[in-house]
Amino acid sequence: MIDPLTGILFVPAVAAAVLAVLPGYRLSANLNVVAALLTFLIAVSLFWLPQKAGDYLLVDDLNRVFIVLTTLVSFTTSVFSASYIGHEIEIGRLTPTYVRFYHAMYQVLMFAMNLALVANNIGLMWVAIEVATLTTVLMVGIYRTHEALEAAWKYFILGSVGIALALFGTILVYMAARPVIGEGPYAMVWTVLVQHAANFDPELLNVAFVFLLLGYGTKVGLAPLHAWLPDAHAEGPTPISAVLSGLLLNVALYALLRFKMLLALNPAAIAPGPLMVTMGLISCVFAAFMLYRRRDIKRMFAYSSIEHMGIIVFAFGMGGPLANFAGLLHMTMHSLTKSAIFYAVGHISQVKGTQKIADMGGLTVTNPLLGWGLVLGVVAIAGLPPLGIFMSEFLVVSSTFARQPWLATILVLGILVALGGLFLRLNTIAFGAPRGPTAPAEASYVPMFAHLAIVFMAGIYMPPAIVTGFENVARLLG
């Protein structure tokens, strides 16, 4: 029995190696699913693993939540991608070579994300996140179309600058830690840093946080650093859009949270809260307005991701047990819902043969399951009950309004505007007279409805175990 901690890194790595050489997409797709499932199961076993921190890896309440979420969504996405890629091959949009590459990259991505989550060394975390970024860059460009390359290139350049900034921040953290902890690798080990954070040089930490906020914020997709996100979502294969929105943003956010905790432990340093709150609000409102002019369905939901990331960052920026809890909950719900939406969108655009909203219509008539699935997803993402996001938004707003009335009001307006934008398009897509080809979809509905079911459940009843877990994390985040 291998140690689960290394297991969640080991399995994807091996799978990647195998998939890289394995011909035949059917087999490799199944293998992909199996590997993802295996990783997920191992990750679940982490819950029974005591907290432990080595020099390079660690498990604590915070990253347990993230890891399980990540592995779960990557598993369901792999199921979805199996049917999606099958269709892409049939219509000849992808060649088997590319598909092999795709599957290998998928597992590499899983590996990188898991590594970023379990890394106990801020340098290692940085490396992992950058690897994840570069992998997604390659996958975004996989269609080799004009726009796909364009999007990938944009993502690549902006991402590289983000990488550089994040690295500079990391170096600064090390510089801040060194006088206290002493030279050598220990000054980059997370658990050690946390213990001594109070004695670090505050000014240095401030500068460091600015760079980290911008560097990792680029990955989170906060405005005005978001530019890569919509196009990357729109032009890449839909499973990758789902992974990007559902997972990669979370991973970057996770890094941000780590450093926020570090700063929060140092009384003399500036409070990271206000910075995060500001960027969160800007992202939320900006993205909400951007929803109105969208013509491309995937780009629209990409902007919706930006909006929700804004809400989450706002919640964490406000801090406090309730807001942190809400932030975590919102993050989880958003990952599940948004990936479910992208599953639906993927099949829809395959049925309609386009991503132009104007060419879709009356889906609830032609493809009831897909159509109503999308409606349910949008209802969830717009924060309507009885689904989970309503609960998290309820907690965010109600717990912050008493403290910061104006900020909460702005947030609420953003949410309202976003709802308007989403439903404006949903009306065109799901209702009215059918438009475009109306062939029945050969789709795998299981992942989508599984996610939606979880979200629905969470909106009504949250198991105490999860609640306590979240509460611990919320307390951890301070």
Binding site: A227, L424, F431, M462
Partner: protein
């Protein structure tokens, strides 16, 4: 435990939704769903009655491990909740009974059946909820399910648009309520209503909560100027749903307002009542004037709901004023008037929408200009519709009159209020109330006269047929209820006593003991009314006259062409239409309020073109409030959209400037 039984009922309704999804294909689905919904609503109604009359002021509460963790979902039935449960489920039962017949004509049952029971359940849950989260969740779920019902006939773009506006306004309301609860619960997150009752807010915060509640609950119940969605959404839904939305859901919104302002918010400040009264008065008059300008039957009814909501809020405002000045008895009178009107309106508005639905079924027409003469083809519908019209026009001896009469009595008590603002405002509001009552009568003369009387204006109206027995049963039931509530108001007033006791600390004197079932709000010498006697007198003297004349004079009768001063015109086009009927009133009121203009186009001499009369009107509230917001969103999104098309270098510039900005912040940080 009443509340437990009630929750069972709600659970049944909720369970019906998936059942409906499964059954949707089969032809028997509608009768199954509506039948089950009818039974559930009736039993819920019985439960509510039991808890209201059983032992008044008895409160039964429970909590389920649902909703917010570490809080759970709290549910509670007190007198107020019980009363509104009765309103909700009475309407629900009637609608289900009606739909047993009406629903058969639904062409897309699978888009109606699943949401209908969910909608009923949501409304029940709002009333039952006892903590902020459950309340808001149920509230928004209510909006969501009704949205689905509004866009049930989604081929019509108008319905989609109506649903869109509706959902936006509903979420707007919910979010402002959310902010209100955010203040009430505080950042500590004490979301249970019990905890909120304990905590006390500062005056300023309480005022903010009041305004947020006014916006939130008001927008749901359709107070001017937040009413814009209502006349769009209510008519768009299938008629039995329209009845529920107009007759019941608006009342649930009123419940939310009462729960927050009278129960949770603690002692009121006197000027709050100014706000509520002013809004109520304006809403009443504007609502009925809008209604008078319509010629779509269902839209007319929807607008008229706005008027009645205004009357209800006038009652509540007066209650607030009296409560703030420590006049509990008067407050009880005003509150009772408001609540009684809540009940009455839910009854006759549902009745009227049912009637409109039957007309829609029989003729396929909602436009009054295409109706007429239906009283000959569908006499029973015409009769019940007439009853509804008389009741809603506040004419004795039916129920509408009683609640407005009580409101007038409350207004007559208000000179004793010390504060000057109220001294000036209340009489004005009284005048507005009187005005709206008179206009309501005009409005329903138009509604009934144009669509049921006269000669058929279209073949559709000529071939109309009487509606089915289930629908008729539902309508006759409600009509009977109008009469009963009109001639035996004492019973209802006594039933409302525990509520006013709980909310304003006093109740109206006990009525049902009085001779001849008279009602005496304050004192015998001051005012009293006896619907029963008035009813008896009128019917007696009428029948005596009829008897005498037929016996002593003549009872012979000849049919002949209409006289019409000797110039009868065979074409039904010469009748007064809905818009021509409203023309004098439009000239009197609409010239300023709607910028109504009549443009007569007279063809030049010699041309054979017909002369045309064009009436152009503007909804100033829409033009002045909603259109600018929409325009702003459009412009803002257009401007920001440029950011989608920048070059990478410019994006880098954004990153760069963000970095420099933050560094500057650090540099100047103290």
């Amino acid at each position: 435990m009443m509340v437990t039984y009630a929750l069972y009922g709600v659970a049944v309704l909720l369970a019906l939704a998936p059942v409906a999804i499964v059954l949707a294909a089969s032809p028997r689905a509608s009768s199954v769903v509506y039948g089950a919904a009818l039974v559930a609503s009736l039993s819920l109604c019985v439960i509510a009655l039991a808890s209201l009359f059983g032992q008044p002021a008895a409160v039964s509460a429970t909590a389920l491990p649902l909703g917010l963790p570490w809080l759970g979902a709290h549910f509670r039935i007190d007198a107020l909740a019980a009363f509104f449960l009765i309103v909700v489920n009475l309407g629900g039962a009637a609608a289900s009974l009606y739909a047993l017949g009406y629903g058969r004509h639904e062409e897309q049952p699978q888009r109606v059946l699943p949401f209908y029971p969910a909608y009923l359940a949501a409304m029940n849950l709002v009333v039952l909820a006892d903590d902020a989260f459950s309340f808001l969740a149920a509230w928004e779920f209510m909006s969501l399910s009704s949205w689905a019902l509004v866009i049930a006939h989604h081929q019509d773009r108008e319905n989609i648009r109506a649903g869109y506006v509706y959902l936006l306004m509903a979420s707007f309301g919910t979010l402002s309520l959310l902010l209100a609860f955010g203040l009430l619960a505080g950042s500590g997150g004490k979301y249970a209503f019990e905890a909120i009752r304990q905590s006390h807010l500062s005056v300023a915060l309480a005022a903010i909560v009041l305004m947020l509640a006014m916006i939130g609950a008001g927008s749901k119940s359709g107070v001017v100027p937040l009413h814009a969605w209502l006349p769009l959404a209510h008519p768009a839904a299938p008629s039995h749903v329209s009845a529920l939305m107009s007759g019941v859901m608006t009342k649930v919104a009123v419940y939310g307002f009462i729960r927050i302002v009278f129960d949770l918010l603690g002692p009121p400040d006197w000027w709050w009542s100014m706000l509520v009264l002013g809004i109520g008065g304006i809403t009443a008059v504007m609502g009925v004037l809008y209604a008078l300008m319509q010629h779509d039957l269902k839209r007319l009814l929807a607008y008229h709901t706005v008027e009645n909501i205004g009357i209800i809020y006038i009652g509540l405002g007066l209650a607030l004023a009296f409560k703030a000045h420590g006049m509990p008895v008067a407050a009880a009178l005003a509150l009772t008037a408001g609540l009684f009107h809540v009940f009455n309106h839910s009854v006759f508005k549902s009745l009227l929408f049912f009637g409109a639905g039957s007309v829609l079924n029989a003729t396929g027409e909602r436009d009054m200009e295409h109706l007429g003469g239906l009283i000959h083809r569908m006499p029973q519908t015409a009769f019940v519709f007439l009853v509804g019209c008389v009741a809603i026009s506040a004419l004795p001896p039916l129920n509408g009159f009683v609640s407005e009469w009580l409101t007038f009595q409350a207004i007559l008590l208000s000179p004793q209020l010390p504060s000057w603002g109220l001294k000036f405002l209340v009489p004005a509001v009284g005048a507005l109330l009187a005005l709206s009552a008179a206009l309501a009568a005009a409005c329903f003369v138009k509604a009934f006269g144009v669509s049921f009387l006269g000669r058929p204006r279209t073949p559709a109206a000529t071939q109309a047929h009487e509606t089915d027995s289930n629908s008729l049963a539902a309508m006759f039931f409600l009509a009977a209820l109008c009469l009963v509530a009109g001639i035996l108001p004492g019973v209802f007033i006594d039933a409302l006593a525990p509520i006013s006791h709980a909310l304003v600390g006093a109740s109206m004197p006990h009525q049902s003991g009085l001779a001849w079932l008279t009602i005496v709000p304050i004192a015998e010498s001051r005012s009293s009314y006896n619907g029963l006697l008035v009813f008896l007198f009128v019917s007696l003297s009428g029948s005596i006259a009829a008897f005498a004349i037929h016996r002593l004079a003549s009872n012979r009768l000849r049919r002949a062409p209409a006289w019409d001063c000797g110039y009868p015109d065979p074409s039904p086009a010469t009748q007064y239409t809905a818009s021509s009927f409203a023309q004098p009133i439009r000239r009197v009121y609409g010239t300023s309020l709607f910028r109504a203009r009549e443009i007569g186009e007279m063809p030049p001499p010699g041309s054979t073109a017909p002369a045309r009369l064009v009436v152009d009107m503007h909804d100033l509230i829409w033009d002045g409030l909603y259109a600018p917001i929409a325009a702003f969103v459009g412009v803002a999104s257009e401007r920001l959209n440029v950011l989608q098309f920048l070059t990478i270098r410019r994006y880098l510039t954004l990153v760069f400037s963000a970095l420099v900005l933050l560094l500057l912040v650090l540099a100047i940080w103290p």
